[in-house]
Subunit: 167 residues, 2 copies
Amino acid sequence: MNTASAEEPRWLTDEEQRTWRAYVHASTLLEDHLDRQLQRDAGMPHVYYHLLVVLSEAPQRRLRMTELAMRAKITRSRLSHAVARLEKNGWVRREDCTDDKRGQFAVLTDQGYEVLARSAPGHVLAVRQAIFDRLSPEQRGALGEIMQILAEGLQPKEAGADLPWLR
Amino acid sequence: MNTASAEEPRWLTDEEQRTWRAYVHASTLLEDHLDRQLQRDAGMPHVYYHLLVVLSEAPQRRLRMTELAMRAKITRSRLSHAVARLEKNGWVRREDCTDDKRGQFAVLTDQGYEVLARSAPGHVLAVRQAIFDRLSPEQRGALGEIMQILAEGLQPKEAGADLPWLR
DNA sequence: GGCCCATCCTTGAAATTTGAACAAATGAGG
DNA sequence: CCTCATTTGTTCAAATTTCAAGGATGGGCC
Protein backbone atom coordinates (compact mmCIF):
# COMPACT_ATOMS: atom_id res chain seq x y z
CA MET A 1 0.00 0.00 0.00
CA ASN A 2 1.36 3.34 -1.02
CA THR A 3 0.16 6.21 1.13
CA ALA A 4 3.05 8.51 0.32
CA SER A 5 1.05 11.60 -0.50
CA ALA A 6 -1.26 11.24 2.48
CA GLU A 7 1.33 10.23 5.03
CA GLU A 8 1.97 12.31 8.08
CA PRO A 9 5.13 14.27 7.43
CA ARG A 10 8.13 13.59 9.61
CA TRP A 11 7.80 16.47 12.02
CA LEU A 12 10.77 17.64 14.02
CA THR A 13 11.29 16.09 17.43
CA ASP A 14 11.03 18.41 20.41
CA GLU A 15 14.76 18.65 20.59
CA GLU A 16 15.09 19.38 16.89
CA GLN A 17 12.41 22.03 17.29
CA ARG A 18 14.33 23.69 20.07
CA THR A 19 17.54 23.51 18.10
CA TRP A 20 15.99 24.98 15.00
CA ARG A 21 14.31 27.72 16.97
CA ALA A 22 17.55 28.55 18.74
CA TYR A 23 19.33 28.69 15.41
CA VAL A 24 16.81 31.05 13.90
CA HIS A 25 16.95 33.31 16.92
CA ALA A 26 20.72 33.33 17.15
CA SER A 27 21.29 33.96 13.46
CA THR A 28 18.67 36.71 13.38
CA LEU A 29 20.10 38.46 16.40
CA LEU A 30 23.65 38.05 15.18
CA GLU A 31 23.05 39.49 11.73
CA ASP A 32 21.20 42.38 13.28
CA HIS A 33 23.95 42.98 15.76
CA LEU A 34 26.70 42.97 13.14
CA ASP A 35 24.72 45.07 10.70
CA ARG A 36 24.31 47.76 13.32
CA GLN A 37 27.89 47.51 14.48
CA LEU A 38 29.23 47.89 10.95
CA GLN A 39 26.71 50.48 9.89
CA ARG A 40 27.81 52.55 12.85
CA ASP A 41 31.57 51.99 12.63
CA ALA A 42 32.13 51.46 8.92
CA GLY A 43 29.10 53.02 7.26
CA MET A 44 27.88 49.86 5.56
CA PRO A 45 25.90 46.71 6.27
CA HIS A 46 27.59 43.38 6.88
CA VAL A 47 27.10 42.06 3.36
CA TYR A 48 28.88 45.04 1.85
CA TYR A 49 31.69 44.76 4.35
CA HIS A 50 32.08 41.13 3.43
CA LEU A 51 32.42 42.08 -0.23
CA LEU A 52 35.34 44.33 0.62
CA VAL A 53 36.93 41.55 2.66
CA VAL A 54 36.67 39.07 -0.19
CA LEU A 55 38.09 41.60 -2.62
CA SER A 56 40.95 42.38 -0.26
CA GLU A 57 41.98 38.74 -0.29
CA ALA A 58 41.93 38.36 -4.06
CA PRO A 59 45.06 38.78 -6.17
CA GLN A 60 45.34 42.45 -7.14
CA ARG A 61 42.37 43.00 -4.88
CA ARG A 62 40.13 42.51 -7.89
CA LEU A 63 37.60 39.93 -9.02
CA ARG A 64 35.18 39.42 -11.84
CA MET A 65 31.63 40.25 -10.80
CA THR A 66 30.39 36.69 -11.15
CA GLU A 67 33.32 35.33 -9.17
CA LEU A 68 32.76 37.85 -6.41
CA ALA A 69 29.08 37.04 -6.32
CA MET A 70 29.83 33.33 -5.95
CA ARG A 71 32.41 33.81 -3.23
CA ALA A 72 30.07 36.08 -1.31
CA LYS A 73 27.07 33.81 -1.88
CA ILE A 74 24.86 36.51 -3.34
CA THR A 75 23.12 36.95 -6.66
CA ARG A 76 24.70 38.92 -9.46
CA SER A 77 21.80 41.32 -9.36
CA ARG A 78 22.33 42.06 -5.73
CA LEU A 79 26.03 42.46 -6.36
CA SER A 80 25.45 44.97 -9.14
CA HIS A 81 23.47 47.18 -6.79
CA ALA A 82 25.96 46.73 -3.98
CA VAL A 83 28.95 47.60 -6.11
CA ALA A 84 27.14 50.65 -7.45
CA ARG A 85 26.73 51.82 -3.89
CA LEU A 86 30.29 51.01 -2.88
CA GLU A 87 31.52 52.77 -5.98
CA LYS A 88 29.71 55.92 -4.93
CA ASN A 89 31.56 55.69 -1.64
CA GLY A 90 34.81 55.42 -3.52
CA TRP A 91 35.61 52.07 -1.94
CA VAL A 92 35.34 49.99 -5.07
CA ARG A 93 36.06 50.77 -8.69
CA ARG A 94 34.85 48.97 -11.82
CA GLU A 95 37.22 48.03 -14.61
CA ASP A 96 36.51 46.55 -17.99
CA CYS A 97 37.78 43.10 -18.76
CA THR A 98 39.88 43.09 -21.90
CA ASP A 99 39.62 39.34 -22.48
CA ASP A 100 35.87 39.28 -22.33
CA LYS A 101 34.12 42.44 -23.35
CA ARG A 102 31.06 41.46 -21.34
CA GLY A 103 33.11 41.23 -18.18
CA GLN A 104 33.69 43.69 -15.39
CA PHE A 105 36.16 43.64 -12.56
CA ALA A 106 35.32 44.98 -9.16
CA VAL A 107 38.48 46.47 -7.69
CA LEU A 108 39.05 47.45 -4.08
CA THR A 109 40.38 51.01 -4.01
CA ASP A 110 43.01 52.27 -1.60
CA GLN A 111 40.28 54.19 0.10
CA GLY A 112 38.26 51.00 0.41
CA TYR A 113 41.24 49.23 1.86
CA GLU A 114 41.63 52.01 4.39
CA VAL A 115 38.04 51.72 5.55
CA LEU A 116 38.55 48.00 5.93
CA ALA A 117 41.78 48.37 7.88
CA ARG A 118 40.21 50.96 10.14
CA SER A 119 37.06 49.00 10.93
CA ALA A 120 38.39 45.45 11.00
CA PRO A 121 39.52 45.48 14.64
CA GLY A 122 36.11 46.58 15.85
CA HIS A 123 34.40 44.01 13.72
CA VAL A 124 36.65 41.18 14.85
CA LEU A 125 36.03 42.19 18.42
CA ALA A 126 32.29 42.11 17.86
CA VAL A 127 32.47 38.65 16.31
CA ARG A 128 34.71 37.38 19.07
CA GLN A 129 32.48 38.71 21.81
CA ALA A 130 29.34 37.39 20.18
CA ILE A 131 30.68 33.94 19.40
CA PHE A 132 34.09 32.67 20.33
CA ASP A 133 34.31 34.17 23.81
CA ARG A 134 31.11 32.37 24.70
CA LEU A 135 32.00 28.90 23.53
CA SER A 136 34.27 26.18 24.85
CA PRO A 137 37.09 24.94 22.62
CA GLU A 138 35.07 21.82 21.87
CA GLN A 139 32.08 23.90 20.90
CA ARG A 140 34.17 26.15 18.70
CA GLY A 141 35.45 23.09 16.90
CA ALA A 142 32.01 21.57 16.56
CA LEU A 143 30.56 24.81 15.23
CA GLY A 144 33.16 24.93 12.51
CA GLU A 145 32.54 21.38 11.39
CA ILE A 146 28.80 21.75 11.46
CA MET A 147 28.71 24.97 9.49
CA GLN A 148 31.11 23.52 6.98
CA ILE A 149 28.76 20.63 6.41
CA LEU A 150 25.67 22.81 6.13
CA ALA A 151 27.35 25.21 3.72
CA GLU A 152 28.49 22.38 1.48
CA GLY A 153 25.03 20.89 1.45
CA LEU A 154 23.44 24.14 0.36
CA GLN A 155 26.07 25.18 -2.11
CA PRO A 156 24.48 25.30 -5.56
CA LYS A 157 25.99 22.34 -7.34
CA GLU A 158 28.18 22.78 -10.37
CA ALA A 159 26.42 21.96 -13.62
CA GLY A 160 25.66 18.30 -13.97
CA ALA A 161 27.05 17.32 -10.61
CA ASP A 162 23.59 16.24 -9.57
CA LEU A 163 22.82 14.53 -12.83
CA PRO A 164 24.76 11.27 -12.49
CA TRP A 165 22.98 9.75 -15.47
CA LEU A 166 24.81 12.14 -17.71
CA ARG A 167 28.23 10.85 -16.77
CA MET B 1 52.93 50.45 30.57
CA ASN B 2 49.52 50.89 29.10
CA THR B 3 49.37 50.49 25.34
CA ALA B 4 45.73 49.54 25.16
CA SER B 5 44.66 51.88 22.39
CA ALA B 6 47.66 51.11 20.18
CA GLU B 7 47.75 47.37 20.76
CA GLU B 8 47.36 44.95 17.92
CA PRO B 9 43.78 43.69 18.10
CA ARG B 10 43.23 40.04 18.90
CA TRP B 11 42.66 38.73 15.42
CA LEU B 12 40.90 35.46 14.87
CA THR B 13 43.03 32.35 14.66
CA ASP B 14 43.03 30.50 11.37
CA GLU B 15 40.57 28.02 12.72
CA GLU B 16 38.31 30.74 14.07
CA GLN B 17 38.49 32.43 10.69
CA ARG B 18 37.43 29.27 8.94
CA THR B 19 34.64 28.72 11.41
CA TRP B 20 33.35 32.24 11.08
CA ARG B 21 33.52 32.12 7.32
CA ALA B 22 31.72 28.81 7.26
CA TYR B 23 29.03 30.21 9.52
CA VAL B 24 28.48 33.25 7.33
CA HIS B 25 28.25 31.10 4.23
CA ALA B 26 25.96 28.53 5.76
CA SER B 27 23.59 31.06 7.29
CA THR B 28 23.46 33.10 4.10
CA LEU B 29 22.75 30.08 1.94
CA LEU B 30 20.23 28.70 4.38
CA GLU B 31 18.20 31.87 4.69
CA ASP B 32 18.22 32.20 0.92
CA HIS B 33 17.16 28.63 0.47
CA LEU B 34 14.28 28.86 2.93
CA ASP B 35 13.15 32.23 1.63
CA ARG B 36 12.86 30.79 -1.84
CA GLN B 37 11.23 27.60 -0.66
CA LEU B 38 8.60 29.48 1.31
CA GLN B 39 8.08 32.19 -1.24
CA ARG B 40 7.36 29.48 -3.76
CA ASP B 41 5.23 27.18 -1.59
CA ALA B 42 3.59 29.59 0.82
CA GLY B 43 3.81 32.97 -0.86
CA MET B 44 5.84 34.69 1.81
CA PRO B 45 9.41 35.02 3.03
CA HIS B 46 10.73 33.10 6.00
CA VAL B 47 10.35 35.95 8.48
CA TYR B 48 6.66 36.30 7.72
CA TYR B 49 6.14 32.58 7.95
CA HIS B 50 7.79 32.60 11.33
CA LEU B 51 5.38 35.28 12.50
CA LEU B 52 2.47 33.02 11.64
CA VAL B 53 4.12 30.13 13.47
CA VAL B 54 4.61 32.18 16.61
CA LEU B 55 1.04 33.40 16.47
CA SER B 56 -0.25 29.88 15.98
CA GLU B 57 1.41 28.82 19.22
CA ALA B 58 0.03 31.66 21.30
CA PRO B 59 -3.15 31.30 23.35
CA GLN B 60 -6.10 32.28 21.14
CA ARG B 61 -3.58 32.55 18.33
CA ARG B 62 -3.15 36.17 19.21
CA LEU B 63 -0.40 38.38 20.61
CA ARG B 64 0.24 42.01 21.33
CA MET B 65 2.43 43.57 18.68
CA THR B 66 5.31 44.21 21.01
CA GLU B 67 5.20 40.69 22.36
CA LEU B 68 5.15 39.25 18.87
CA ALA B 69 8.05 41.45 17.84
CA MET B 70 10.10 40.27 20.80
CA ARG B 71 9.37 36.61 20.24
CA ALA B 72 10.24 36.90 16.58
CA LYS B 73 13.33 39.01 17.29
CA ILE B 74 12.38 41.84 14.98
CA THR B 75 11.72 45.53 15.50
CA ARG B 76 8.23 46.85 16.05
CA SER B 77 8.55 48.94 12.93
CA ARG B 78 9.37 45.93 10.83
CA LEU B 79 6.51 44.08 12.42
CA SER B 80 4.04 46.84 11.60
CA HIS B 81 4.92 46.63 7.94
CA ALA B 82 4.90 42.86 7.96
CA VAL B 83 1.51 42.61 9.63
CA ALA B 84 0.13 45.14 7.17
CA ARG B 85 1.20 42.84 4.38
CA LEU B 86 -0.10 39.70 6.06
CA GLU B 87 -3.36 41.49 6.74
CA LYS B 88 -3.74 42.22 3.03
CA ASN B 89 -3.35 38.49 2.43
CA GLY B 90 -6.08 37.82 4.94
CA TRP B 91 -3.77 35.70 7.07
CA VAL B 92 -3.64 38.01 10.06
CA ARG B 93 -6.17 40.40 11.54
CA ARG B 94 -5.61 43.33 13.89
CA GLU B 95 -7.73 43.81 16.96
CA ASP B 96 -7.84 46.66 19.41
CA CYS B 97 -6.84 46.01 22.97
CA THR B 98 -9.54 47.08 25.37
CA ASP B 99 -7.27 47.26 28.40
CA ASP B 100 -4.78 49.53 26.75
CA LYS B 101 -6.04 51.76 24.00
CA ARG B 102 -2.54 52.05 22.57
CA GLY B 103 -2.37 48.33 22.12
CA GLN B 104 -3.07 46.12 19.15
CA PHE B 105 -3.39 42.40 18.89
CA ALA B 106 -2.21 40.51 15.86
CA VAL B 107 -4.54 37.57 15.37
CA LEU B 108 -3.94 34.58 13.13
CA THR B 109 -7.02 34.12 10.94
CA ASP B 110 -8.43 30.75 9.98
CA GLN B 111 -7.18 31.42 6.51
CA GLY B 112 -3.74 32.10 7.93
CA TYR B 113 -3.87 28.88 9.86
CA GLU B 114 -4.78 27.04 6.68
CA VAL B 115 -1.79 28.40 4.81
CA LEU B 116 0.41 27.35 7.70
CA ALA B 117 -1.04 23.86 7.87
CA ARG B 118 -0.69 23.45 4.14
CA SER B 119 2.90 24.62 3.87
CA ALA B 120 4.33 23.32 7.13
CA PRO B 121 5.19 19.83 5.86
CA GLY B 122 7.21 21.20 2.97
CA HIS B 123 8.98 23.63 5.21
CA VAL B 124 9.84 21.01 7.80
CA LEU B 125 11.16 18.81 5.06
CA ALA B 126 13.36 21.60 3.75
CA VAL B 127 14.76 22.27 7.22
CA ARG B 128 15.33 18.62 7.85
CA GLN B 129 17.12 18.08 4.57
CA ALA B 130 19.24 21.17 4.97
CA ILE B 131 20.23 20.53 8.57
CA PHE B 132 19.26 17.50 10.59
CA ASP B 133 19.70 14.90 7.88
CA ARG B 134 23.27 16.02 7.44
CA LEU B 135 24.37 15.97 11.04
CA SER B 136 25.24 13.21 13.48
CA PRO B 137 23.24 12.98 16.72
CA GLU B 138 26.20 14.50 18.57
CA GLN B 139 26.37 17.37 16.14
CA ARG B 140 22.64 17.96 16.39
CA GLY B 141 22.99 18.19 20.14
CA ALA B 142 25.99 20.47 19.95
CA LEU B 143 24.28 22.77 17.48
CA GLY B 144 21.37 23.21 19.83
CA GLU B 145 23.53 24.04 22.81
CA ILE B 146 25.71 26.43 20.84
CA MET B 147 22.85 28.33 19.29
CA GLN B 148 21.14 28.56 22.64
CA ILE B 149 24.25 30.18 24.09
CA LEU B 150 24.69 32.60 21.21
CA ALA B 151 21.06 33.63 21.26
CA GLU B 152 21.17 34.31 24.98
CA GLY B 153 24.30 36.36 24.63
CA LEU B 154 22.77 38.57 21.97
CA GLN B 155 19.36 38.90 23.51
CA PRO B 156 18.77 42.54 24.39
CA LYS B 157 18.83 42.55 28.16
CA GLU B 158 15.78 43.45 30.20
CA ALA B 159 15.91 46.94 31.66
CA GLY B 160 18.53 47.30 34.34
CA ALA B 161 19.77 43.73 34.06
CA ASP B 162 23.10 45.05 32.93
CA LEU B 163 23.17 47.81 35.49
CA PRO B 164 24.08 45.90 38.65
CA TRP B 165 24.78 49.11 40.54
CA LEU B 166 21.09 49.91 40.48
CA ARG B 167 20.13 46.84 42.45
C1' DG C 1 -6.48 67.20 38.19
C1' DG C 2 -2.12 68.39 35.73
C1' DC C 3 2.67 67.45 34.35
C1' DC C 4 6.17 64.61 32.62
C1' DC C 5 8.08 60.89 30.78
C1' DA C 6 7.83 56.16 29.18
C1' DT C 7 5.51 52.86 26.23
C1' DC C 8 2.78 51.34 22.10
C1' DC C 9 2.44 51.30 17.50
C1' DT C 10 2.43 53.55 13.10
C1' DT C 11 4.18 56.26 9.31
C1' DG C 12 7.15 58.08 5.56
C1' DA C 13 11.28 58.23 3.14
C1' DA C 14 15.50 56.20 1.98
C1' DA C 15 18.17 52.06 1.44
C1' DT C 16 18.44 47.43 0.17
C1' DT C 17 16.87 43.06 -1.95
C1' DT C 18 14.36 40.27 -5.18
C1' DG C 19 12.99 38.46 -9.59
C1' DA C 20 12.19 38.99 -14.28
C1' DA C 21 13.62 40.89 -18.43
C1' DC C 22 17.25 42.56 -21.39
C1' DA C 23 21.37 43.71 -24.43
C1' DA C 24 25.89 42.47 -25.52
C1' DA C 25 29.32 39.13 -26.16
C1' DT C 26 30.95 34.41 -26.24
C1' DG C 27 31.38 29.82 -27.94
C1' DA C 28 30.05 25.46 -29.90
C1' DG C 29 28.57 23.35 -34.11
C1' DG C 30 27.52 23.09 -38.51
C1' DC D 1 31.02 32.50 -41.67
C1' DC D 2 26.30 31.66 -39.37
C1' DT D 3 23.14 30.25 -35.99
C1' DC D 4 21.68 29.32 -31.60
C1' DA D 5 22.18 28.58 -26.85
C1' DT D 6 24.78 30.26 -22.95
C1' DT D 7 27.09 33.49 -20.16
C1' DT D 8 27.81 38.23 -18.23
C1' DG D 9 26.33 41.97 -16.05
C1' DT D 10 22.78 45.53 -15.71
C1' DT D 11 18.23 47.53 -15.17
C1' DC D 12 13.48 48.15 -13.77
C1' DA D 13 9.73 47.67 -10.66
C1' DA D 14 7.94 45.68 -6.67
C1' DA D 15 8.75 44.04 -2.07
C1' DT D 16 11.02 44.41 2.14
C1' DT D 17 13.86 46.59 5.73
C1' DT D 18 15.75 50.42 8.25
C1' DC D 19 15.72 54.60 10.69
C1' DA D 20 13.95 58.70 12.47
C1' DA D 21 9.92 60.98 13.75
C1' DG D 22 5.41 61.43 15.58
C1' DG D 23 0.59 60.80 17.68
C1' DA D 24 -1.79 58.70 21.32
C1' DT D 25 -2.18 56.61 25.76
C1' DG D 26 -0.66 55.05 30.30
C1' DG D 27 1.20 55.78 34.89
C1' DG D 28 3.77 57.89 38.51
C1' DC D 29 3.85 61.90 41.21
C1' DC D 30 2.89 66.45 43.13
